[in-house]
Symmetry: C2
Subunit: 362 residues, 2 copies
C-alpha cells in the first residue's frame, strides 16, 4: 500500500511522528494509567503540558515578553467577534483589508460591533488574481486597529506585505502560523485556528500585545475576553485539553526538526516544486499572480475539467488524498501545511506528470 499523503485544507493532516506518540500513550499517558484527556486541567500534570506548549510556541515564534499567548475555544470565527469587542476601546471604527473569503467573513462579523472601513485589496495583474500594494491602503485615522488575513485558503492568495500604519495590526494567521518566520512585534494580535498548522480542530491561538488587554467592552462574553483568559492562564473554564496536548506535541516536533527556520525552508521547497510542475505542464494552470501565490494552499485546474473526477480517483489510488478544490473554485487544491512532507509533494508532482502525459492531446 502506498503511504497516504493528506492534502486536506483543514482539518489537516498532523505530523506522523506526533500521531504515533499520541496513539502509543492514548490510554496510558505519563504512566498514569489513563489518557491525558481524562485528567483535570488543574492537575499539576496537565498544567505542565499547558505551560510547556506555551513555552515552545514562544520559542518557535520568538514571541516577545510583552505579548500574551492564549489558548481559546471557538475557532477563528469566534475571534471575528472577539476582536472588535476586545479592541475597539472608545473607537467605533476598525479598518479591514479585504483580500478574499476569510477576510470578508471577518468584516461581516465586525459590522455587528462597529463601523468597518473596508479596503478592497483584490485586483488582477496580467489576468491573474492579485492584491494591491499595502503602501496604497489609506487607513482611516479613527480606526482602532487594522485587520487582514495574510493567506486566503480558498483562492490560494497571499498578501506578503504588512499594512503601513501605526495602529495595531491584527492578523488571521489560521493557515500560515508556524509555516514561516514572522516578526511578532509588528502585530497587535495574531490569531489562528489550530486545524491547519497547529493541531486538531477545537483550539485557537491568540497572541496579543499586553497593552491591548484593557480595551474590552462590558458586554463581552467572558469566554472571549483576552484579559480574563490571560489572568486565568487560558483556564477560565475547562479548556480543550486534548487539543492543547496535541498542539504541544506538534510544537515539540517542530522544534525537533529545526524549528520555523527549517520548516519554512521545506515549505518553500514544497511550494516551488508544485508551482513548477503547474507552470511547466500545459495540462495544469493556477490563476494566482506569482507574487501572491500561497505557500500553503495551491489551487490548480486541469486543462480538461471533465477529467477532474478521474484525476481525483487515480490520485487517491496512489495515496494522494483530499485534493478536491473548494466548491467555490472547483478544480484541485493541494494544501501543503507543515505536516506535509516533501516526499508527499514529490509524489503529487510525479502523479501530475504521469496524468498529464496520459491525457494531453499532443
Amino acid at each position: 500500500m502506498n503511504p497516504i499523503y493528506n492534502f486536506s485544507a483543514g482539518p489537516a493532516g498532523l505530523p506522523k511522528a506526533v500521531m504515533a506518540v499520541a496513539q502509543k500513550e492514548f490510554i496510558n499517558w505519563n504512566c498514569m494509567g489513563r489518557s491525558v484527556m481524562e485528567i483535570s486541567h488543574r492537575s499539576k500534570e496537565f498544567i505542565e503540558v499547558a505551560q510547556c506548549a506555551e513555552r515552545n510556541l514562544r520559542e518557535l515564534l520568538n514571541v516577545p515578553d510583552n505579548y500574551k499567548v492564549l489558548f481559546c475555544q471557538g475557532g477563528a470565527r469566534a475571534q471575528f467577534a472577539a476582536l472588535p469587542m476586545n479592541l475597539l476601546g472608545k473607537s467605533s471604527k476598525a479598518c479591514y483589508v479585504d483580500g478574499g473569503y476569510w477576510a470578508h467573513s471577518a468584516i461581516e462579523e465586525a459590522r455587528k460591533y462597529c463601523t468597518v472601513q473596508v479596503i478592497d485589496a483584490k485586483t488582477t495583474v496580467d489576468g491573474k488574481a492579485a492584491t494591491t500594494a499595502a503602501s496604497t491602503w489609506q487607513i482611516d485615522e479613527d480606526a482602532a486597529y487594522v485587520h487582514y488575513c495574510p493567506n486566503e485558503t480558498i483562492d490560494g492568495i497571499e498578501i506578503n506585505d504588512l499594512p503601513v500604519t501605526d495602529k495595531p495590526i491584527v492578523a488571521d494567521m489560521s493557515s500560515t502560523i508556524l509555516s514561516r518566520q514572522i516578526d511578532v512585534s509588528k502585530f497587535g494580535v495574531i490569531y489562528a485556528g489550530a486545524q491547519k498548522n497547529v493541531g486538531p480542530a477545537g483550539i485557537t491561538l491568540v497572541i496579543v500585545r499586553d497593552d491591548l488587554l484593557d480595551l474590552a467592552t462590558d458586554a463581552l462574553p467572558s469566554t472571549l475576553s483576552y484579559k480574563l483568559l490571560d489572568a486565568k492562564d487560558s483556564m477560565y473554564n475547562t479548556p480543550p485539553t486534548y487539543a492543547w496536548y496535541l498542539s504541544g506535541l506538534v510544537f515539540k516536533w517542530l522544534k525537533s526538526i529545526g524549528g520555523v527556520v527549517e520548516i519554512e525552508k521545506r515549505n518553500r521547497n514544497k511550494a516551488a516544486a508544485l508551482y513548477q510542475a503547474i507552470d511547466e505542464l500545459p495540462f495544469y494552470k493556477n490563476d494566482v499572480h506569482v507574487d501572491n501565490r500561497s505557500l500553503m494552499n495551491v489551487p490548480f485546474q486541469l486543462a480538461k475539467p471533465e477529467l477532474d473526477g478521474l484525476f481525483l480517483q487515480q490520485a487517491e489510488e496512489k495515496g494522494l488524498v483530499a485534493l478536491k478544490g473548494h466548491r467555490a473554485v472547483g478544480g484541485m487544491r493541494a494544501s501543503i501545511y507543515n505536516a506535509m512532507p516533501e516526499e508527499g509533494v514529490a509524489a503529487l508532482v510525479q502523479f501530475m506528470h504521469d496524468f498529464a502525459e496520459q491525457h494531453s492531446d499532443s
Copy 2:
C-alpha cells in the same frame, strides 16, 4: 497492577471500551489511512459521524422532533453568555435559581445582558446543605426564561424538582446529562459541557426547542447563535471534530449497554453504595441533606482531616485516583459519572472500610 478507577470531576474518565476503539483506529480510521481528526468536517465520512452522533443522542434522550441538537464550542461558560443573548427577545429580565457555584456563575454572566431575578434556593435542613422546594420559587412575570443547574458538582447538591412555570426552563446539565432519564419536553434549553458524561473537553451540547430560535439579539457573536448553528448543522465553522467523534463513540457505547435506563440503574447503585459506606462508617461524613445528595459527585470528609493526604496516597496506590475534593470544600470528592463502573465504586467502598478500620480510635 490494580486497574485504575478515575474519580475525576472533569475532565472525567471515558468508558474504557470507547478509549480502546479510539486508540485502535487513531491513525487509520474507517480504513482511510489517517485519523478522523485529519479529515474535512465537510467530507461525507465526517458528516456521517456527526449525524450518527446526533441520531444516537436523540434516541438516548428521546429528544422530541421540535427540539434542535447543537454541537458547540466554548464550554458551558460560553453558554452562560449565549443564553441571554439568544433567549431574551424583547424582555430585559431572566430568572435564575441559585443553588450553588455553577448557578451563581451563570447569574454573574447573565447580568452583563439583562436584569436577573435571583431566587436563592440554598438552605439547610437538619444542619445539612439543602435546597428549597421549587413550589416556593416565585418567578417574575416578565422573566424571559428560568435558569437552574440541577447538579452542583463542587458541593454535591442536586435539585430534584423542576421550576414551576410556563416560561422556558433552561438547565445546565453539564454534570447530569445522560446519567438518568429526563423528559426533554419540559425544557426550553438543555446544555452541557461534554467533559463529564459525554466526551472530552472542548465540545458542548445544546438541545433547544425550535420556537426559541428566533429571539436572538443582533449583537450575538455568530458562533454562539443557536439559529445559525442549527441552520448550518453545527458546522457554521470548523467544529471540534475529534471531540464530536469521541462523543459519538460514547453514545454508541451507552446504547450498547442498554441506554439511559440501564446507566441510571447503575448510577443509582453506585451512589447508594457510596453513601451507604459514608453513613455506616462514623469515620466519614457527607454534609448534604439526603434529599439533595448528588448522584454524580459525592463529597465526603474524614473524621480526621489530618489524614486526608494519607487517604489520597493510599487510595492512589490502589488505583483509586482523583479523589481530592474541590479546594473550596476540602476533603474528598468521588465523581461517579457514567464511565465509572460499579466495580470502581465497590473498590472505593472497600478501601474506605479498610482505611477507617486502621485509623478509627475505637
